[in-house]
Amino acid sequence: MKYAGKKLLTMFLTLFAVTLFVFLAFHVISGDPASSMLGTEATPARLEALREEMGLNDPVLVQYARWAGRFLTGDMGTSYSYRMPVSDMVTDKIPVTLTLTILAFFMMVLISIPLGIYTAKHAGGVIDRIIYIFNQIIMAFPPFFSGILITLLFGRIFKLFTPGGYISYEKNFWGFVGYLFFPALAIALPKAAMAVKLLRSSVIGEARLDYVRTAYSRGNRTNDVLYKHVLKNALIPVVTFLGMALTDMIAGSIIIEQVFSIPGLGRILLTSISNRDYPVVMAIIVCISLLVLVVNMIVDMIYGLIDPRISVE
């Protein structure tokens, strides 16, 4: 439990550091929000009044605390370009990006674990060689290009889905998941290829160790040794990789959303960056950072479960 507490504390400290950095950075570049809000109607007196009202005359740390406090209660500020609360723009997009990421993650695990074990077991065989070459090529795919090829292949030639025919999750949840299947596949494939390679080398490396020889000499069958002894240890580096892949996928979905025209967080993040709509950019970056930190936290916990030595340390 002490381990969990320590990890939780680190997470909050990192979150604090990240949000403070983001706040300060955007505070410096975004200039004076009061004058950009008043525009041509700005007079020195009105500017001063608005600044006082918005709390812009307070020390920066006080402003940060106020912003963070509001953020926690769900008030993410007002968009410059749409003049509407940022929370209204962002909250209904989070489930879209999250579903896409989770779907992609499960695909990656479902593809990579069996393939990784298979190739390790049959290392040096013909199928292992073929999968190796295939893997190297898939790994070189930028996710948006795999997305384009998937659109071409499954959308155009096999007509398994309608490109651009996004279905909102509020209207039809399963239709929504169905539409996300191929985008998720586009994100999952390159990562799955890396995971297969890692798991294969991890299992092979582990199988050379003495305890494996001992297990064999005591009369265990190959599968018993593999699943009861080797895999437990071989999975540790893979879990680290899967965690990193998951955080990468959150960011990768920003790109894939553009390929399949999915209205998720990525879409508004990009328009807001080009519109210099800083409150929106800030809110989305903080949301994604929070997701990334939670994922890292969960990975650390799983780590402690698989390898109890880590949590003692």
Binding site: A25, Q136, F141, P142, F144, Q258, L270, I273
Partner: protein
């Protein structure tokens, strides 16, 4: 070291692909079959032919010429990124690994925090601070790449700093800077080289992603990612417009990743 009879196929294949790509790009710097930005209305969506080996795009620009220029842009951005990442990564990693102590503790915590974030996201933060454009992308991606290099260099320095040759140098009166950069650094080159190859691989992918999103290289300058995002609109009409730039990205990344693998195995 030497694996005897068995050749290192990764090295041969990776080296060949990278070499061919480099030749392709270098030719592109000096000569392209057509002006990459010249529009020929009569050649709109021209198919693959002897005149246009990869066909033409929606403005009638020759795709082969644009791919040649675009690959050059992508590689230059990747080189700049890797340079920034390696340069500052080496300094940070060397100082923290060699001296250790409280500075190491603080810098590495910050490093770990940055490392935990996907590099595309970091780059997006910097882009929204700096504005979009080629140099901004190089700086943004470069900063995002520093932590991974710093980590690798630091662990190598920790491994080396108590070795006999370092003690020997110290006894002969070499200063810290000299020990760090003249004695220890050359010994990290094999590890560093493999990291640089992997860095190139990631940088090419990241640059392509950024220009695909429209925040990297600005038009009319050709860039592979940008071409792909434009090609997407005409995907069903002219699939060749998307496939060739994509293929070139894949070949570049494949070459670098095979070389990186090969160097790792040598070690």
């Amino acid at each position: 070291m030497k694996s005897g009879k068995k050749k290192n196929y990764n090295f041969i294949v990776g080296g060949t692909i990278t070499g061919l790509m480099l030749i392709f790009i270098i030719i592109g710097f000096f000569y392209t079959p057509y002006d990459p930005n010249a529009m020929d209305p009569s050649a709109k969506f021209a198919g693959i032919s002897l005149k246009h080996l990869m066909g033409c795009d929606n403005f009638g620009r020759d795709i082969l010429s644009r791919v040649m220029k675009g690959a050059g842009t992508t590689l230059s951005v990747a080189a700049g990124t890797v340079f920034i990442g390696t340069f500052f990564g080496i300094i940070l990693g060397a100082v923290t690994g060699y001296f250790g102590g409280i500075l190491d503790e603080i810098l590495m915590r910050v490093n770990d925090a940055i490392f935990a974030f996907p590099s595309i996201l970091l780059a997006l933060v910097f882009i929204s601070l700096l504005g979009s454009g080629t140099y901004q992308v190089v700086i943004a991606l470069g900063i995002a790449f520093i932590p991974s290099f710093a980590r690798i260099v630091r662990s190598e320095f920790i491994k080396c700093k108590n070795m006999d040759y370092v003690k020997n140098a110290r006894l002969q009166g070499a200063g810290h800077l000299r020990i760090m950069f003249v004695h220890i650094l050359p010994n990290t080159f094999t590890v560093l080289l493999s990291a640089i190859m992997i860095g190139f691989n990631n940088a090419v992918l990241a640059e392509a992603g950024m220009s695909f999103l429209g925040i990297g290289v600005q038009p009319p300058q050709a860039s592979l990612g940008r071409m792909l995002s434009e090609a997407q609109t005409y995907l069903f009409r002219a699939p060749n417009y998307a496939i060739f730039p994509g293929l070139v990205i894949i070949l570049m990344v494949l070459g670098f990743s095979l070389l990186g693998d090969a160097l790792k195995r040598e070690e």
